[in-house]
């Protein structure tokens, strides 16, 4: 049962990694933008939640209803005022601007909140567990995290394939010029996509902050976990991304069980192995 527990924990953490990945994958799918500041935005959301919680004594899990709209709004304007100016045939501008943004956010947080690590306390739910079988129990919080990831991915999937907004986003992604011929306003749609991405980032940031300590410098590794989940799962497939997150989480859990120093390394090695032997990912999108 010891190994069963390890793997189960890994699976549940994988839900969090899938949340890191979803926003990244979404904006790449819609506008081919890789946002290097993605991880730092997750950490920023955690600090916004920290402010909310200390100002209002709200439970951090409920702070999501304040943080998500705020981040979404910020995302819309970030896209309209900054990233839309960088989109074009040249890859360099969006990449370097988002890299600059990453450094700005990281050091901005460092300046305001110092390098001390923080944590959000969600109360009794943090220690609550559900007994599955004898000797195997699941924490309620990790379970909630995983269920949220599944719910968010399911909702995005529904939005993409069943709602007019999703149709618009896919059309714009396929051919931005023809999308304009249909009367779509691409700049607005890109803004909406970034808003959705940062709303998911807000959820990820809060779970990150409730689950463990955080400080201004941990953004880049969250970006990397999210990125690895996307590549392991296969580009353009949100359920694949969930699977990628789970595989990464399990690999890290097994690595950590063997030797604490191997936790992160094991995750990276699985990623590199996928890149070496199945570069299209484990569950690539089948193109019509």
């Amino acid at each position: 049962m010891e190994w069963g527990n390890v793997i189960l924990q890994g699976v549940l953490v994988g839900g969090l990694y899938a949340l890191f990945a979803t926003g990244l994958s979404l904006i790449f799918g819609v506008m081919r933008l890789v946002n290097i500041a993605h991880g730092d935005l997750i950490v920023l959301a955690a600090y916004v939640a920290l402010i909310c919680v200390t100002q209002t004594t709200l439970n951090p899990l409920l702070a999501i209803f304040i943080v998500a709209p705020l981040m979404a709004l910020a995302g819309y304007f970030l896209q309209r005022l900054v990233f839309n100016r960088t989109l074009g045939p040249d890859l360099l501008p969006p990449l370097l601007v988002s890299f600059g943004l990453s450094v700005i956010i990281q050091n901005g947080l460092l300046q305001v909140f110092s390098a001390d690590s923080r944590k959000l306390s969600a109360g009794a739910i943090e220690t609550a567990t559900v007994q599955v079988v004898d000797g195997l129990s699941i924490g309620v919080l990790p379970l909630l995290m995983f269920a949220t990831a599944v719910a968010i991915i399911g909702a995005l999937q529904f939005m993409f394939y069943s709602l007019p907004l999703g149709r618009a986003l896919r059309a714009t992604s396929d051919d931005p010029e023809v999308a304009r011929l249909m009367g779509y306003d691409n700049k607005h749609l890109f803004g909406v996509a970034m808003a959705i991405s940062l709303a998911v980032v807000a959820v990820a940031g809060i779970f990150l902050a409730v689950r463990a300590n955080f400080d201004p410098a941990i953004g880049p590794s969250r970006l990397i976990y999210g990125f690895e989940a996307v590549i392991i799962g296969g580009l353009g497939n949100l359920w694949g991304t969930l699977a990628g997150g789970v595989i990464l989480g399990v690999a890290q859990a097994i690595g950590a069980k063997i030797d604490p120093g191997w936790q992160l390394l094991a995750g990276h090695l699985v990623f590199l192995a996928v890149l070496a032997f199945r570069p299209e990912g484990l569950f690539p999108k089948v193109d019509g």
Partner: protein, 235 residues
């Protein structure tokens, strides 16, 4: 031009960077009229279509649609006024199904005769294929989707770029057979063609472009074959 002018173009110069593709083009479409724009490859026909909907850089031009100058507007705002373009090469949205492509075309929800059901009765084959990925269709069927997608916007002016390029003759005949049902709804049309015969049969008037300039304008009946081929080839 007469009061009934739907679209009036004056002094249209169009550029790709520093390369000039159109030189002082003037053109007019009256309400309910079908225009054919013919010319050889790279005569500037596609550039003319793109310039109308604001997809290429222009200089010094006036493009008036229902007497309003639209030359400075963004593409998405121009099409909202009631102009739809079927682009060269059809360019369907590849990740969307046939029906989703049509729905994307109708997303502005302009009032008019065209809806999913009327498109399906115009091109019955599309009803059968509605759930299929658009790129799995044959070239002719894709052109039907592209035309249907443009009609879903219920445009007052329909632009079709290279209607028959790359299609089998029998498919071309089918599509041309459907065109009168489109224009019978009061929709004006500009049809761009390299292959002149079909276009001249449906057009009220014809413009010929060569080297980015209008070399001939008239009604198909008033123009001799020789006049057309000299305007077309410059010989």
């Amino acid at each position: 031009m007469a009061d009934s002018a739907l679209l009036e173009i004056e002094n249209l110069n169009a550029f790709y960077g520093s390369f000039q593709a159109l030189f002082g083009v003037a053109l007019g479409v009256r309400a309910g009229e079908t225009l054919a724009v013919i010319g050889a490859n790279s005569a500037g026909k596609s550039t003319l279509m793109k310039a109308i909907v604001g997809l290429v850089q222009t200089r010094g031009a006036a493009i008036r649609f229902r007497a309003e100058n639209i030359v400075a507007l963004e593409t998405q705002d121009i099409v909202r006024k009631g102009i739809a373009l079927v682009p060269e090469g059809r360019r369907l949205f590849r990740s969307l199904s046939v029906e989703e492509n049509l729905q994307a075309g109708g997303q502005m929800q302009r009032k008019g005769p065209w809806s999913l059901s009327t498109i399906y009765s115009l091109f019955p084959i599309l009803r059968e294929k509605r759930a299929q990925p658009s790129i799995s269709l044959s070239g002719g069927q894709q052109q039907m989707v592209a035309i249907g997608r443009a009609l879903m916007a219920n445009p007052d002016l329909l632009l079709i770029d290279e209607l028959s390029l790359g299609l089998a003759p029998i498919v071309i005949r089918d599509i041309y057979a459907a065109l009168p049902r489109v224009t019978a709804q009061g929709t004006s049309a500009i049809i761009v063609e390299q292959d002149t015969t079909q276009a001249l049969a449906v057009a009220d008037r014809v413009y010929c472009l060569r080297g980015g300039r209008v070399t001939l304008e008239g009604t198909p009946t008033s123009l001799s074959r020789d006049a057309i081929s000299s305007a077309y080839f410059g010989v």
